[in-house]
Amino acid sequence: MPRETPIERLGRELQAAAVRQLAAEPSVPSHRHRRWPGRTLAATLLAAVTVTGAASWAATSLLSSGSPVPFQRGAPIAGQAHGAPIPGTVKLLADDVADPDGGPPWGLRYWETDRKYACVQVGRVDRGKLGQVSGKVFHELRLGVTRGILGGCFALDGGGHAFTAIHTDSLRGAQATVCPEGFMPGTVLKGLHGRKVRCPEPERTIDFGLLGPNAQRLTYRAGGRERTVAPLGGVGAYLVVQRRIKPVTREYGFHHRDPKLNLRGPAEPYLALTPASQVMQRITYKNGTCVVRITTSPYGSCNVQAGFVPIPQPRVADVRTPVRAFAAPDGRGIRVRFRARQAVIDGRSGYDIELRPVGSRNVLTQTYAHNVKAGDLVHTTIDLPLPRRAAYTIVVRYRMVRPRPGPYATLAYPGLLVGRARVDMR
């Protein structure tokens, strides 16, 4: 009989524990359910269905003010993550995009941050403010809220402009569709106390984005008609709102003779650098017209004409500098010091510090993602997960987004070598 591996033994132990747990607690006590009604997805979905179902969209109705849409990861902070808005760049570029069923118009706000991002928010406009509407309650979208809403922050190119194209569904109150990943809208989920809850059907299809300064005209198709308009605000902003349309799908994976076995998924990307959805038809740029076609490329279909300015890249010689490292006095970490020759002034670059025990392939990497001026001394302590008496190699790298990054603009790997050091902890 083959020897049982530790993984199999652990599986057997867990299986036995699961049986014991079930025997000890045959059903979830009802008081536990009562503790979390506001936090469960089911309750959230139910609330969303109820409020949108009861919504009245008469244009004359006055909305009462509710709590503002929360910051999911705290208010923006200058010099960190996407950074804080720069005063003077904040503009409500659109505030009069009509909703197909009437009610408050839709709008788009744009601003730039101190970490070289351009951010966008889309919502409904009431008394000059951007927000989301639930029933007759207006929830303001404060400046800086970009997560969990229609919007986001996008890295600027080498010329200081952002490019992005988003095609998505939403609720009519401008809430991004609330549906767990893997569940199709309309799926019935089992909610609290066996109650069935329907994941809300999206009601609007929204296209918005930033086409850059070279865009002169754009043609989109909505409600069965094509319209040509000028982009907004010198940054090429656009916003198209319509009743939800059927997404274009395509076949993924193997093609089977039995069509029931074929896997189909969306053909239009949620996010691309330039438009790629069925809604956008043509974009006229200074250097040519782009006919938009559906593509899953993260660059979209107008990458050639959009005029993305490559982001300048330093050379190895620009970043090389001596790196010094010492064992921390408590022996549980390693202190690393070097003088940064290349500044980190935005979210498009950062220093990576890599620790590797000599003779091992295991590696611990920490990104030093704060702003650093050129010539500043970087000194940081890296805690060792489970310290051991060994020699460590420390490698510092300068990582930056690629010259022509995709829409997410993540830092390219592995980056440029800044320097190496060695610490003996024995």
């Binding site: 299986q15 049986v19 045959p26 893997g182 489970l386």
Partner: protein, 182 residues
């Protein structure tokens, strides 16, 4: 019911009253979790200890589990991360969840450690170092970290078909090199 065809969320909901569903969830993710710890701690037995504590914590949380907007896998790795952080803070791996479930401690002997090393560092992993960077990253992300094609495509900023192609080419190259090395 074919448990292996159910989604992670369905398995966890079913696991509230079907222990076999938890076993299916464990088998689906144990190697990814072990790999996650293996790349963050230096000893393979410590990584295994952390894996055991993570799945015990997951099992304890199963009666309260409700599907959330984020995938169940993200929830699992959230627990794994917390387990690791707790271990780092205290300087040792906790066994609170395993004790509360009255689980027998699993004592690893030399052969067990060797088995875990073998699972973590097969010749394929060694040969992986010889792959081009893009293929190596894609194969590691999909087969070692257990990320989906969609997740990798988002992170690497390319389409899913490109990721599939890199994984497929990487595996083909590995197979050839391993066969040559026999």
């Amino acid at each position: 019911m074919e448990l292996d065809r159910l989604s992670d969320e369905d398995l966890l909901v079913l696991a509230r009253d079907t222990p076999q569903a938890f076993d299916a969830f464990y088998r689906r993710h144990v190697h990814a979790v072990q790999g996650y710890f293996r790349r963050r701690v230096f000893e393979v037995d410590t990584a295994f200890d952390l894996t055991a504590e993570t799945f015990a914590s997951v099992l304890r949380a199963v009666p309260r589990y409700e599907p959330r907007p984020e995938p169940a896998r993200a929830w699992l790795f959230g627990i794994a991360r917390n387990t690791l952080l707790e271990a780092l803070r205290r300087g040792r791996v906790e066994d609170r969840a395993r004790r509360s479930l009255a689980m027998e401690p699993i004592v690893l002997d030399e052969a067990d450690v060797a088995t875990l090393e073998l699972l973590a560092e097969t010749p394929a992993i060694e040969a992986m170092d010889t792959l081009p960077d893009d293929q190596r990253a894609a194969v590691l992300a999909h087969h070692v970290d257990g990320e989906s094609y969609a997740e990798i495509a988002t992170r690497l900023e390319c389409s899913q078909s490109v990721v599939r192609q890199r994984v497929s080419r990487g595996l083909r190259t590995l197979r050839t090199r391993l066969e040559e090395g026999r």
